[in-house]
Symmetry: C2
Subunit: 348 residues, 2 copies
DNA sequence: CTGAAAGCGCTTACAG
DNA sequence: CTGAAAGCGCTTACAG
């Protein structure tokens, strides 16, 4: 392995100068820089990350924490984030919580992340008070995506979940539906995962704006998954007269709903309309009407907001600066995408 | 930040002993170990990864390279691998190639990975000869999942793609189909991504075994995606009399095929049967018959084969030992899952 | 079983 | 703009 001394010797300068030249610091003359770069190139030199980190105190690495990488929203966000990070010279350490509480604790509460990364991105990760304390003591810059708990001084990128659910509900109202059900997730989750709460609120607000009272018997809780949508819908149908339309809190639940309806012999949209939120990769294949949210864009933007104050991974010390005014989440727009799963209710 | 000296002082031993005790090395007396652990606990001590790596030469990190994290197979593999790695004390560095050739080069050909990870996992990553040379000079242990290029001395976990496609084709033959089309991917990819080639071979072999000649006009190439399946099927339909059944090289292509058929006014399975390979999360929702492959299990097994020779991340030097007999890929079984997308052809 | 000392390969004040 | 020297926080022979 060639090391910095080899480069220094070949270029006829000190290792300090090699270090500066290679990192593009401005305090190196053009001629010297050229010589150093040539030497490094010739020797095929790559800096040792461990040594650089130990000496410089920066890791050039970002931790990205997601609940489940297999779900559409999270894999889409991670793909966009990965591209941005690597283009910026950062490595991505992936943490997939996967519902395992012990992993959550190990990642968030121990000093595990400390000394390991320069910054943290939390995607839709609900936090307990103890988690917040742990994160605060880590004293690292970070960003959150989607709802979940806000972390003091960390910016947040998300959509307006209330508005998204309102748009979905309004779409059904506009089509003439009055018996509109809602299926959502995480009933016994005491964590502050607010997405489903916000979306329920939007559903209820829009009904009320139309002069209607939300009917609790048409509002079923389950989990934020295909299976959850399936079960919630089955439960809904078991309760008696089916609704003419369903607002699902996410596309995956909507897909489960479509399956349950099919299994019950009901046609979509002739018997029951279904609208989701997300615009999942497969929404088109299924003809699912939905409220599209820009997942990749949220990832890219959050990555940018995270890295901007950090600068290049190996350029001088980290500026402790926090983005000012990051108390207001950045909200990205959503839009209604009408496909084949929604239609006017049948005439009585 | 508390460091190893603080622990040493509190425990009344040398830093060398702290290091040994904390890593569970056997050459520490039980009493000393207890004292050290208590001190570390009391001080909330966490080893500095950078320092440990620099001094010990191990990174406790594995690079996982996937083509596209947003696709079902890859996110499922990564989820399983992530769990295994973290449970074993390793970090996961994610590289999502995303079709960007320059990224492939940066990841595989430069010494980028060197000094950064202890081992590499390549998931369905095709390699050019130059990539193989670069990997060889990295001299790191590794493992490959799925087909793609074999790397000398690296074990490989996969399914038998030829057999999977044969089973899919036989299923259609058993139902009475004779006009069976095949859609697959990567037509102008000179890389050695062999999955689609193997699956085509299986399709053809099974037809021949049934005494039939594969009809080139029923074999369309596109890309390994939903969109690719859609386009390939549209192309197939444009060629004239539709087939009575389609073998898609993966579920995502099958989903695209279902969309194209629907758009063309053809019903599945009444007019055309469709069978895929994968057992994608959404195959059930779509009623897609398919050949299920164990994605998570391939990930777990590959992670285990990768880590076994490495031992715990901070336990002594890496043993250069390569699993013997790793020249034969480990093949995991697949199985036919019949749903609603396949049925006997209509009587003429 | 334990410790003193060297060394891992860089970066960073500091001085010039 | 550049260099000599200290130091980042561990692990590892080596010696006992």
């Amino acid at each position: 392995m060639t090391k910095i001394d080899d480069v220094a010797r070949l270029a006829g300068v000190s290792t300090a100068t090699v270090s500066r030249a290679l990192r593009g610091l401005p305090t190196v003359s053009a001629a010297t820089r050229r010589r150093v770069l040539a030497a490094a190139e010739q020797l095929d030199y790559e800096v040792s990350p461990s040594a650089s980190r130990l000496a410089g105190g920066r890791t050039g690495t970002v931790a990205v924490v997601v609940p489940r990488i297999t779900r559409w929203f999270f894999s889409t966000v991670v793909e966009a984030v990965e591209e941005f990070l690597h283009e910026s010279g950062y490595d991505l350490l992936l943490y997939n919580l996967g519902g395992r509480e012990q992993i959550r604790q190990r990642v968030l509460r121990t000093a595990n992340l400390h000394k390991r990364v320069d910054a943290i991105m939390l995607v839709a990760t609900p936090l307990r008070p103890a988690d917040l304390t742990a994160l605060a003591s880590l004293d690292l810059p970070g960003v959150t995506i989607s709802s979940g708990t806000r972390v003091p001084n960390w910016p947040c990128v998300r959509i307006d979940d209330v508005a998204a659910a309102r748009t979905a509900t309004r779409h059904l109202l506009d089509l003439g539906h009055r018996r509109i059900a809602h299926i959502s997730g995480d009933p016994d989750d005491e964590l502050a995962f607010t997405t489903h709460l916000d979306r329920r609120r939007g559903y209820q607000e829009e009904l009320r704006a139309a002069g209607m009272q939300p009917d609790p018997s048409l509002d079923v809780e389950s989990t934020f998954t295909i299976d959850g949508g399936n079960q919630a819908t089955a439960e809904l149908l078991a309760r008696g007269e089916p609704p003419t339309a369903i607002v699902a809190a996410c596309d995956e639940m909507a897909m489960g709903a479509m399956t349950a309806l099919r299994d019950a012999g009901l046609r979509v949209p002739q018997d029951v309309s279904v609208v989701g939120i997300d615009d999942h990769d497969l929404a088109g294949v299924l003809g699912l009407s939905t409220i599209a949210q820009p997942a990749a864009e949220q990832g890219r933007l959050a990555a940018r907001m995270l890295l901007d104050p950090l600068g290049a991974p190996s350029l001088g010390p980290i500026v402790g600066q926090r983005t000012p005014g990051c108390d207001t989440p950045v909200m990205l727009p959503t839009r209604l995408v009408v496909r084949d799963s929604t239609a006017p209710p049948r005439a009585h």
